[in-house]
Structure formats: structure tokens, C-alpha cells
Amino acid sequence: MNPRIALATAARVLTQLRRDPRTLLLLLLVPVVLEALMKGIFWDQPGVFQRVGVPLLGIFPMTSMFLVTSITMLRERTSGTLERLMTMPLAKLDLLLGYALAFGAVATLQGTLVSLFAFGLLDLNVAGSPAAVVALAVLNALLGTAFGLLVSAFATTEFQAVQFMPAFLFPQLLLSGLMVPRERMLSGLEVFSNFLPMTYAYDALYRVSSSASFSGALAKDVAILVGATLGALILGAATLRRRSG
């Protein structure tokens, strides 16, 4: 592992993103627009907006970073640059860390912007600290990045990579408790949801929004999210092969 290479990689990925201002603009503005839309559709049910608004602040970054990462990594695989890097003195971890740093930085910007907008203009309230919401948003973004790196190994075209989002993230979103509280689901689904990382993302954000104290349950959610991120990164590293067929 070499911090110089990880930092160089992060800078390179950020420069690539800068070359695509439309993507950057969409990344930053789409969550803001969707959050405003949520406020609109639940105009006469402020309680519902209050319940789903905060968790969504953290779930947007996860989905967008998942998509951006899986496509960027797929391009790296198909353009031959990954193969070139694999003949160079670069550890797989340097590459993964570089991606995590770059997309973590974008996620911080994205999470901060949409949170400021929601707390400032949409009257969304959190019992806990708004900074904790942004921190969880960044953690979720890193989880999305890790999953994106992992699934890019199973996609051979950009069409496939895009389809992984509904296939991989939508079920998690449906079962996370955002749509229906988990205890009201069929028991089989509730058990299944215990194994899905987004469940803990929703849970953690919901806890921050409803209580000011840092509880053990919140710590457990955060620990699971960190564990899932590291697990996905390790699996992702295993899919980066120096040799191919």
C-alpha cells in the first residue's frame, strides 16, 4: 500500500469527474429536487415527510455513488487502463482507496448541500445533530461506492451496470423500513431485511432524526454499516485480478 498512489488516484478520479460537469451537476442537484418533491407530495402530512425525509438524505448518496462508481470502474476495466495499472507498482488497495477518497469527497459535498437545503428551506427537523446526518450520508456513500466497485466485476457493459441499481438497491430500499415499518412486513421479509445493509442505513438515520442521544443501537447500526463497507471493499479487491483469461 502506498498513500502517494492512493492520493494520485483520488485526484485523477476527481479530475475525470470535473471534465463531466453535467454529471457533477446532476449528482448535486437531483437529491435537492427529489427532497423538495417529497416535501410537496407530503405537504398535508408533515409527519410522514419528517419520518422519510431524513433517511432519504442519507440514501441518495448511496444510490448515486453506487451508479457512478460502478460505471467508472467498468470503464477502467473495459478501456484497458485497469490492465495497465495492474502491470504497474500499484496495490489493489491503493486503487480502491483512491476511489473511496474521491467519491467520499463528492458525497460530502452532496450530503452537505441537500442537508442544508432540507434543514434550512424545507423545515425538516432532526432531534440529533445535523452533522451526524451528513456523516451518515457520507458513510452510506462509501457503502454505495464499495458495492459499486464490487458489482462492476459482474457487468460487462454499461447497460448491465445500470440495471444492477434496480436489481441490487431497490429491494433493499423497499425492505429497509422506509416504505413500511419492518415489523409490519411478512415475517419472512422482515428476517430477510436483517441481512440488508440499507436496513441499517435507514435505521441509523431514523434514530438520529428522532432522538438527540447517541444510543448503543445507533452505534450498532454504524458498526454494521462500516463492516458491510469493508466487507464489500475486500470482496471488490478480490475481483480485481492481475491476470485474466
Partner: protein, 241 residues
């Protein structure tokens, strides 16, 4: 180990897409030489080069580079590889590409300018690679392979699509590097480039037909040029079966 050649391939077998595409290739390449790798499309040149740089799964045999097994971590700073299709970031400029790969190698930032001058791209440093012509993109990719002053340089069709003047300059550069002690393995479709090599490896259908100096090859086959020598060898091979 020191007296050994730069690249040593023994009984290399490679299976790609369920088919054996290299059937027991053996080769010795001397240090400080330019070796041409020639043969028809699909004969296995790229596959052999991938095995030499250690990115190809092999089914049997061995590949040794500078005394290490191909792809060993110790080789990653000492080997340069130009892939057949340019492998650079289209959305970055020439300078940004070279600076990034240079940082991965840990070379001085000034190397980016030096190698871009070698391939004649100094005036395009600030241009996005995606907006360059095909030959210019190929040269950015070539410059990247030169960044770390590699001791072994594996170049897959470095001169395809380039004009005669630039091709001559590049071949002079290859020989300059070899005089400096580097070992070059260069694949080509173009038979007239073969004459410029210190030694030649002729391949066909995943096998080595001959590995000789251009002069010896013409002598043994009685042909006038390398193209003729190649055709004679094929005719001989077909008569054998």
C-alpha cells in the same frame, strides 16, 4: 542468473475462450536487443506479450523476465507494456494522463514532458486524449509505457497507423534504448519493419516457426526478404504434415 537472457519462455501453453491459443511456445530473448514478433492476425502475438508482462492466465510452461517469474511484484517498476489498443483516459489531457501514471511509478514530474517529446506530442500536452487522432492516442499510450525507463519494454504494434517519418524516428528511439541496455519485444504486422530488428520471432497458429536474426532467416530460407522467408517457412511446415 545474471548471464541469462532478459526474457525466457519455456513450453508456454495458454487457453483463451476454451481454446488452446499458444501450444508450447519457447523463446530466449537477449538483453539489450530489439526483437520483432511477427505473424498473421490471431496467431497469438498479443497473448504471448500478455504472458510476458504477467497479465495472462497461463495453462502450462514458464515465463521468466529478468530472472523473476513474469508479473512478479519486483518487475512492476522495471517492465513497460504498450497494449495493442491504447489504454489511457480519454477524458483527461495528455499531460494529466502522463502525470497520473508517472505518480503511480513514482518518477519525477518532469518525465511527463520528456516522454511526450519523445513521441512528438509536446504541442498537444493540454489536449484531451479523446479529441486526438487515432495515431496520436496510440502515441500517448506509448509515452506512458516509457515513463519509468523500463529495462524490458513490451510493445504491441507501436507503429500501426503512423507516418513513415515518425515510424523511422520511433525505431531509432527503440535502438537507442536497446543500446542503453533495455530489452525490447515489439510486435508488428508490417514485414518491412522486421529488417530493423536485431532478431525476429515468427509465429503462426500459436507456435514459433523461427527465431533468428533477419540475415540468418533470409540465408536459411534462401528468400530475398522476410516476407518471402515467412512464406517459405509456412510452405515447409505444411509439407511436413
Amino acid at each position: 542468473m545474471t548471464a541469462e537472457g532478459a526474457i525466457s519462455v519455456q513450453g508456454l501453453r495458454v487457453i483463451r475462450g476454451g481454446r488452446e491459443v499458444l501450444h508450447g511456445v519457447s523463446l530466449e530473448i537477449a538483453r539489450g536487443s530489439v526483437t520483432g514478433l511477427l505473424g498473421p492476425s490471431g496467431c497469438g502475438k498479443t497473448t504471448l506479450m500478455r504472458a510476458v508482462v504477467g497479465v495472462q492466465h497461463v495453462a502450462g510452461g514458464s515465463v521468466t523476465v529478468l530472472g523473476h517469474p513474469a508479473g512478479a511484484p519486483a518487475l512492476r517498476t522495471r517492465v513497460g507494456y504498450l497494449t495493442q489498443a491504447p489504454s489511457v483516459y480519454d477524458d483527461l489531457t495528455v499531460a494529466e494522463n502522463l502525470r497520473y501514471f508517472g505518480r503511480v511509478y513514482g518518477v519525477a514530474p518532469g518525465r511527463a514532458e520528456e516522454v511526450s517529446a519523445v513521441v512528438g506530442l509536446t504541442s498537444h500536452l493540454g489536449q484531451a486524449v479523446g479529441r486526438l487522432s487515432g495515431g496520436q492516442r496510440a502515441r500517448v499510450s506509448l509515452a506512458t509505457a516509457l515513463l519509468n525507463n523500463p529495462e524490458v519494454l513490451v510493445l504491441d504494434e507501436p507503429t500501426v497507423g503512423l507516418d513513415p517519418v515518425l515510424r523511422r524516428d520511433l525505431w531509432e528511439m527503440f535502438h537507442g534504448l536497446a543500446r542503453g541496455g533495455a530489452t525490447l519485444l515489439v510486435s508488428s504486422h508490417v514485414m518491412d519493419e522486421a529488417e530493423r530488428c536485431d532478431s525476429l520471432v515468427l509465429m503462426r497458429d500459436g507456435q514459433v516457426l523461427a527465431a533468428e536474426t533477419p540475415a540468418r532467416l533470409r540465408e536459411t530460407t534462401g528468400a530475398e526478404d522476410i516476407e518471402g522467408a515467412f512464406l517459405t517457412l509456412i510452405a515447409g511446415q505444411e509439407a511436413d504434415v
